[in-house]
Symmetry: C2
Subunit: 192 residues, 2 copies
DNA sequence: CTACGATGAGACAAAGATGTCTCACGTGGG
DNA sequence: CCCACGTGAGACATCTTTGTCTCATCGTAG
């Protein structure tokens, strides 16, 4: 009856399970706990030993997604250099987490409740500040609000993630497609 | 035992039920058949008399969404005038269906199966042709593929629909936010 | 070797959604 | 008037997923 401390190996496995679940749920967001377990190469019982239930699993994935976004934001150094370059760096750094983001983006469970993770608001604030910096420096237009630009960034990341999974967009083109559309739009620039 | 032809009133109600379901599922994509019925002001039994099951309901909503998109495309006259103006018209015409589109966009059930509605491909083709026309006329840049631009249009429409429901974007700004970001991007134009 | 802990397999009940059925009511037309 | 039809309410079985449990097995540290 000495179930006190955490087992030694579970901490390592947990991350692996989380990654597997992210990869599977990105492709099939309605996957069963049994399917998640099989995808991770473990049994459903062990999966439940890691995560109390499906809700806990989704919450853990949410925390992982937030953490990866924040890490990407750190690496992108949004305060440095031109804002456009900062956006390009951010998109490049966030690509590995795009699939997970796309899954979370479509998981209405996370948004309907009144108690939603503060991490999203922290991210919104920081990304919104990036766009605001671009506006204040005169680099970005001011008729599109930072809030909408942030939302559009998420949307484009999710869209491109889906398109990549379907093979409609090459994985190597992801950073260009997202960043250049967000920054420059479809219209051709007169000045080269 | 003369259950042959369609009843006289059901055809009228069916459209109303469909609209109610679209409005509800836009807000709560996991709504129960019972909730859908209540939202339409009918009983679950009657709902089942209209749509054999949840799957049939979603398929009907899909058909409705496709039809509304095609109607919007007709009204937008994508062949006329500048391509940019055509895109603006398309976004404006498609706004009333944006919520439904956002719901369908997140309904993975529609995309995972091997047998998906041809209507989407027809729409993709026509919208893709619009962007291609812009590229050929020199109006649009050529480093973003029409396929990606089409995907981005869907993504931005869905994103803005969610943002509108959450109150982060005003409904009246929808056409501007979506079209101007898609066309011009976040960067400020040098030439006024 | 031995014991402990983690695991896999499976049984089990509970919960929720769904699909089907019956029955009573009410309304409108013949 | 009366009957047919659409409807609402609800009962019912079914199915799926989930959460919990037990038990046998296996690897490994002591």
């Amino acid at each position: 009856m000495s179930h006190v401390g955490y087992p030694c190996l579970m901490a390592l496995d947990r991350d692996h399970v989380l990654r597997s679940a992210a990869a599977l749920l990105t492709r099939k967001s309605t996957a069963t706990m049994d399917e998640v377990a099989k995808a991770a190469g473990i049994s459903r019982a062990t999966l439940h030993r890691h995560f109390a239930g499906r809700d806990a699993l989704v919450r853990a994935l949410e925390a992982l997604g937030i953490a990866e976004c924040e890490a990407a934001l750190e690496r992108a150094r949004p305060e440095e250099g031109s804002t456009a370059e900062a956006v390009r760096r951010l998109v490049r750094e966030i690509q590995p987490a795009a699939g997970l983001l796309a899954f979370l983006y479509g998981e209405s469970q996370l948004w309907e409740g009144d108690r939603q993770n503060d991490g999203w608001q922290r991210l919104d604030t920081r990304i919104g500040a990036l766009f605001q910096r671009g506006q204040q420096s005169g680099e970005f237009r001011i008729d599109l609000t930072p809030v909408w630009l942030t939302e559009a960034l998420y949307g484009l990341i999710a869209s491109c993630a889906w398109a990549t999974l379907d093979g409609r967009v090459a994985s190597r083109d992801f950073p260009t497609m997202v960043a250049e559309l967000l920054l420059g739009g479809a219209l051709r620039r007169e000045e080269s």
